[in-house]
Amino acid sequence: MTELLLEATGIAKSFEGVRALRGVSFELRPGEVHALIGENGAGKSTLIKIVTGAVTADSGTLRIAGKSVYHNDPATAKSLGVAAIYQQPALFPHLTVAENIAFAMESAGSWRKVNWKERRWKAKELIALAGAAIDPDRFVSSLSMPEQQIVEIAKAIGLKAKVVIMDEPTSSLTETEVASLFRVIESLKSEGAGIVYISHRLEEIPQIADRITVLRDGETVGTCGILEVDRAGLIAMMVGREVANVYPKREVAIGEIALELRCVGSREAGVRDISLNVRKGEILGIAGLVGSGRTQLAETVFGLTPADSGEILIHGEPAVIASPSDAIAHGIGYVPEDRRQHGVVLELPIAANISLSSLSLIAPHGLIDSQAEQAQAERYAEQLHVKAPSVDVPVGTLSGGNQQKVAVARWLATNPKVLILDEPTQGVDVGSKSEIHAIVTDLAESGIAVIMISSELPEVLGMSDRILVMRGGTIVGELSRAEATQEKILALALEHN
């Protein structure tokens, strides 16, 4: 039996109290392509970051090329033969292709001579091995995304890496580029390297992989040979969990159409041909993988990346939404994903956060009436059960769930007709999660049309009246509450032509 290239056992990792991995095991043999799959947030990225040394595991053991690694860091991983090709290439935009490749291969040492000629020649050769031709003197900032992927692949080849990790390497490649990537993978295999292959494109996995490991919720569901499982079996493994009926979904009278999109597209946002409608009192769920265009759709409706084709109708009237203030004027509210970055102002008190989108109400003559601001904040804080000593404390001191409630309260203060929630319970503890779900249901009951984007399938299934599935910047399917299952949603989200 040959030695394993990579052996990770019981790896656990938490980020700020949220458990990303809770005991994952994974192994890689020489000369195999081992596919690693799982839903958004299953822990694939965290696992590969631990292997490459970008983050340190909280517990578990890691052996690379037969050596136990007690404290991994990027230099250690590199010296043991680990190379990673990230979805977002980690390159130096200001430097040339040749130099980018050289950095991966050459050793450190401040006084070591840099041989420009050899670097250029070497880069050319490696890029040819990766199946492309890119001038090694070009600056990386001038390369397209696929070209940058090629540079990353050339780096891995040049390193003679034993463990090559590819995170969604085909997501921005064309058919021919994928074919040449697969040839590169075959030649790496034949030289005894092992490849960890992460992809959402289930149909390409049988073409290239030897074994598959499925992760779910930070745990290993199982590992099997490529011939032992079919697509439906994989989806079942990815989904797996029981859908407990913990969602306080109430029957709500659904009224007339509040917002309608007809063939809406935005080249800037990368969304196209979006037709949908959402009615008063309805919760419309939007599912899809990360990168399928869900957030971009929300940003288009909200005027951040205005639509350049199609029609937007509000209560049946055509509306022009060229900026967020247009959207707000039309009664659209948007609670973005990643609330710490975009949703709330951590340094400002609760009251100022809530009044931010409705300043005209509390500052009729340009001066903020702080008593009115306070009263408004207290009203919403009570309605949404924001747990805080007072509305004067900075939002940064609250828990994630309470921060999210403040973000929602800000939009309630604008009296919206349509509210878009992007990942409303991301990084929120279980208790606050069901509170937020109850709030969303209350909002729908009060006649607001809710669009809820979520990566968490049970949440989408439990909360939505209807579910739209997105892929590649457009809507690829619609499921009613009755017919929707996790398997059907995932099948639509993953399908690829």
Partner: protein, 316 residues
């Protein structure tokens, strides 16, 4: 593909244009006395800009160099009055500069405080600490061996010219041909990627600050020996001159891109323009305004080009 040396060429062209105008209208500008004066007056800016270029290449900034300059100058003068030979005094002043730079670097790299804040604090602390320590007094009655480094007034400029050429060549050689120099570019271009390829980005950041401190100390000593007295308020506003020269020379203020040649040309252009106005009979009051306009033009051109390039990459 963009030209590697676009900015350097346009600054060089501006210098050539200025030289042409001067040659036609005020040939007296090119007298050897004037050129030597001009060179010696800008020598501190040049030396410090060589270090600042590297600090900015890593994506950082050091606005405390003016205060470091004052401290090192006074320090060298006091040591020399204690009877130390000028060479030893100079070396110690360079060491003091390197130490001040190292403190800035350590706070930025290891304590992870933004360098603009760290160096703003050290700028004020060093400047006012010096004023408090010396009561604002100038150092005068310097020993004769201190003046002109003990050289004759005609030999001194030649030593300076040698120092300037040597520093430029050494740093350019290191940045272009040694792995450590390339690590500076990598750190500024994409710190996370640099970390992932195994570059010690903290050490790189620390190092460029310490080196800039050392160069500032050297500049302070070489400048002090030209006068009878060393003022306690030397180097006021020097940091802005230095940063301006680096930026005009094409180094991206966000790091990762720039060259020694560009910085040297930036120092020459900004240093030459002020006296040129006097020679051309334009009021010297215009000097700063014109320098400001040059800086603005340089960064606007940069921003426009960068946007065009991004669009080019998207459509590639």
């Amino acid at each position: 593909m963009r030209s590697h040396y676009g900015r350097e060429l346009s600054v060089a062209a501006s210098i050539a244009l200025l030289a042409l105008v001067l040659a036609l209208l005020a040939p007296g500008y090119f007298s050897s006395e004037n050129l030597a004066d001009l060179f010696l007056a800008n020598m501190p800016v040049l030396l410090i800009a060589l270090g600042m270029n590297m600090v900015i290449l890593t994506g950082q900034i050091d606005i405390s160099v003016g205060s470091q300059f004052a401290v090192c100058g006074i320090f060298a003068g006091l040591l020399s009055k204690l009877g130390l030979p000028v060479e030893i005094a100079a070396l110690l002043a360079v060491a003091v500069g390197a130490t001040m730079g190292a403190v800035n670097g350590a706070l930025t790299a290891y304590v992870r405080i933004p360098s603009i804040v760290v160096t703003l604090a050290s700028m004020v602390a060093l400047r006012d600490g010096l004023r408090w320590a010396t009561d604002g007094a100038w150092v005068s009655d310097l020993p004769p061996g201190f003046q002109w480094l003990g050289l004759s007034q005609t030999d001194y400029p030649w030593l300076m010219a040698f120092t300037a050429v040597f520093s430029i060549a050494a740093l350019a050689w290191w940045l272009l041909t040694r792995a450590g120099g390339r690590a500076i570019y990598a750190t500024g271009s994409n710190p996370e990627a640099a970390r992932l390829v195994g570059i010690d980005t903290q050490l790189v950041t620390f190092g460029v600050f310490a080196l800039t401190g050392a160069l500032t100390g050297l500049a302070a000593v070489l400048n002090s020996v030209r006068f009878n007295q060393i003022p306690g308020n030397a180097g006021l506003g020097l940091e802005m001159k230095v940063i301006a020269a680096v930026v005009v020379g094409g180094t991206a203020i966000t790091g990762g891109s720039g060259s020694i040649a560009g910085t040297v040309l930036g120092v020459i252009l900004l240093g030459a323009i002020g006296p040129a106005l006097t020679f051309l009979g334009v009021s010297a009051y215009w000097e700063r305004a014109l320098q400001g306009a040059i800086i603005l033009a340089a960064i606007v051109v940069e921003a426009v080009r960068e946007r065009a390039e991004k669009r080019g990459a998207e459509h590639a």
